[in-house]
């Protein structure tokens, strides 16, 4: 549906220097899917989104929606943002304070090329307000809305013209934590119900994992990895992705040889030999970094069956209610492990650490 190919953007900063934002960004979003651009601030994700919107003019590349090319540097095509017909929700929501809820929502129907009768506008606006549960507030001043209501209003305004494509720029970042979690479900339900193709920009990895069909992790203008949420989380392809999405333990090592199963390798680390998984074709004596998620570090007071088991010592622990975080000393180093709170090994005592080979991802050292 949406195709972005070879996108390059740059802009002058306050001091007039040219800043490069997106660098050779290429991805595709199938019809009806939610695609997330995830990355730290300044990684080029917002600029990419704004290029799709037409608010930014890229330096090179091509953007098309369905059969329609909205930007192409080679064919010199640039469709003005108000002619693209995409819905967009801004980070600040950009609710017009001089209009009420109804007027805010009706605006796109009033200014577009297509003319609607007053009755049509009314019907469409009320329908979309009902969808975001703001129907009763239609006459309320926009300035009198709470954060969550503003967010829903911004969404209603973006959806009212039934756009081909919905663009969301960190729509949940201005909400408090509890509300953000609730809106996450709402947003997901709405997107799945309407089956509207959506591009979502965020720096919050849990949001990205929760909402997306597919995620592109960006850093310094480049897309690092594209994949389904589970793929990104469980099989990161670079240290950056492993570190940025979720919490992880990094362990240095060097490759000894192939493991028992295809894709498995044996790696020597500070505390012994580990069987690991890698998508790269590793060779003997390659330097690698292992990424192990804390919840995949299995702790037990009795020795578990199988390989990849070591004895360790509890260095510190933090009780967090639904789980308990252990820092265990294994060889010379500290490993973070997340366990069920029923594990009550006191600080200083010994316990066993087991690492499943599928959960230890070996990445080529930078």
């Amino acid at each position: 549906m949406l195709k972005v190919a070879g996108l390059f953007t740059e802009y002058p900063n306050e001091r007039g220097q040219i800043v490069r934002a997106a660098q050779d960004v290429t991805f595709e979003v199938p019809e009806g899917k939610l695609f997330t651009l995830l990355g730290p601030s300044g990684c080029g994700k917002t600029t990419t989104l704004r290029s799709i919107a037409g608010l930014e003019r890229p330096r090179a590349g091509e953007i098309s929606v369905g059969d329609r090319v909205v930007y192409s540097s080679t064919r010199n095509v640039f469709v003005a943002p108000n002619r693209r017909g995409f819905g967009m929700v801004f980070q600040s929501y950009a609710i017009w304070p001089h209009m009420n809820v109804f007027q805010n929502t009706a605006f796109p129907l009033q200014v577009g090329d297509r003319r609607f009768s007053a009755q049509e506008i009314r019907d469409k606006v009320l329908r979309v307000l009902r969808a975001v549960q703001l129907e009763e507030l239609a006459d309320r001043e926009a300035t009198k809305l709470s954060g969550g209501q503003q967010q829903r209003l911004a969404l209603a305004r973006a959806l009212v013209m039934e756009p081909q494509l919905l663009l969301l720029d960190e729509p949940l970042s201005n909400l408090d934590a509890k509300l953000r979690e609730r809106m996450r479900f709402e947003l997901k339900r709405l997107q799945r119900e309407l089956r509207i193709t959506t591009v979502y920009v965020t720096h919050d990895q849990s949001e990205a994992l929760a909402l997306s069909h597919s995620i592109a992790v960006m850093n310094e203008g480049h897309i690092q990895q594209i994949g389904a949420p589970r793929e990104i989380y469980e099989r990161p392809r670079s240290q950056f992705v492993a570190d940025f999405v979720g919490t992880t333990n990094f362990l240095d090592g060097s490759v000894l040889g192939r493991g028992a199963e295809p894709g498995h390798f044996r790696v020597r680390t500070e505390f012994g030999e580990v069987e690991v998984l890698s998508d790269d074709d590793l060779r003997g004596s390659d330097r690698v970094v292992l990424s192990v998620r804390p919840e995949d570090v299995e702790l037990a007071e009795t020795r578990p069956e199988g390989d990849n088991v070591w004895e360790a010592r509890v260095d510190q622990k933090v009780f967090l209610g639904e789980f308990i975080d252990f820092q265990v000393k294994l060889g010379g180093r500290i490993l973070l492990a997340r366990s069920h709170p029923s594990l009550r090994t006191p600080v200083g005592d010994a316990l066993y650490v087991k690492l499943h080979p599928e959960k230890c991802v070996a990445l080529k050292a930078a």
Binding site: T46, M88, H98
Partner: protein
Amino acid sequence: MQAGNPAMNAAAPFALRRSFDWKWVVIGLCVVFTIYIAVVPLAFLLWQSFFTPQTASKAAEFTLGNYTSAYGSSETLRLFWNSVQFALGASLFAFVLGTALAWMNERTNTPFKTLFFALSIIPLIIPGILFTVAWILLGSPKIGIINLALQNWIGLEKPLFNVYSLWGMIWVDGLHYSPMAFLLMTAAFRAMDPALEESATMSGANIFQVAYRVTLKLTWPAILATLLMLFVRAIESFEVPALLGLPVGIHVFTSAIYQAVHRYPSQIGLASAYGMTLLLITTVGVYFVSRLSSRGSKYATMTGKGFRPRRIDLGPWRWFAAAIFIIYFLLIVVLPFAVLLWSSFQRFYSVPSWQALNNLTLDPYRFIFTYPNLARSVWNTLILSFGSATVIMLVTSVICWIVVKTKLPGRWLLDNFASLPMVFPGLVLGLSIMIFYLNFDIGIYGTIWIMFIAYITRFMPYGLRYNTTSMLQIHKELEESAAMSGASWGTTFRRVILPLLKPGLVAGWIYVMIVSIRELSSSILLYSPGTEVLSITIWELWENGQYVELSALGVLFILALFVLVMVAQWLGKKFGVKE
């Protein structure tokens, strides 16, 4: 009373032992000083307007005569009409010019944008009197360079335009204050979250729909406030009406007040009646400006951290925009300064020509440097500006601490008192202070002290504003932790508040210093031989017809102010002052 003052509460055991707290002395003095400074002149202006002048033989008597003579004549109606025409014209002209430039600068890709920076400092470095004189040298029908050049080159019979006219006054005043409109509208554009416009674009609105339905509607309070502010400022304007209007008999309130005082015998009662009228107009104006600003902030609270705004690509039109801007730059900076520079190297004022070029001389500069009044007026100016800036910033820091940080009852009144002088046109303030110290002879009339008081009164609101901005950013807990560490109020104020206030203090100090250096309209009623300031010296040179000497002094004055503003900007950067 002490509920809002944890410094006091925390130190209560110590305070009890020490029966006397200096804090209340400092606060009390500052409050009394502020009320005295701000309220007394107003009260006396009002009083005077209802009384006949006091003479040696006859005490003042109550009369409505000043008002009847002020409002009974058709002359006053004409005065009023002239003032309104002039102020409306000048403010609209400045607004249109300033807004167009602000929009070009903020929202389009016009080239040469770095020059816009100059716009923010021009009103500071070219005082009104010099700007007006420069435009007389450019646009007078007899000696104006533009007129003469056009007559020579194209063979025009009559001079193209006459600066000694209502249109000429509107032109010069509007041009001079267009940078103010530019700054105010730039702030308005910046205060708006660009996403508000972008979301309209994304909704399918074209550039005109965005401009009308979103940008204009949202900046409407700011537009009205700017227009009102410019109007108030124009109706207070003294230099332009005095230099351009008086010679041809176009009178406005300010020039009429000046004439009433300088007539013999001087008609102070009539001047007061005019002054009260003018004060009424400016008060209503300032009141609505503050109402509008608080309404505007209702909109501002909704903005988030925006992305850098999208620039509208003007295409080939951007060169047209650049041309407009360069012409504007010529009119407001290059031509006025060039004409002063040219005439400052002449023995007698003459239009540029090859012959005149051979007569270049440094005589005017020699004259200026040996001018007996010069050293004294420079010294007076420096003392006054330095002194008033220092006093204002220190006193208003205490005032604004009371207003912002305590819960003392009636503190809002104090805030209003300290801001009250804002409504005073400089000339009216000079008038009321003059009247007061003429009647209550404490020996400062005719000395430099009366001007000192005028300056402090006039610029106190600026100091208060700078300090308040800074004070709002100082978290209450910073003071509280100083109190918990055992510091007294005085120590806390000196060691915690003042240092944290430094950005605002420094910026405000420099600003007050610069505006005091250029002050003319209050000083002109208060100076006497020996207490002239620089702008008065320029005024006197003009009255004597010493144009070339005036030009030399003007050039030096502008250069000095330029250096001062540059130093201020550099200091501002160093201390992290933002605007």
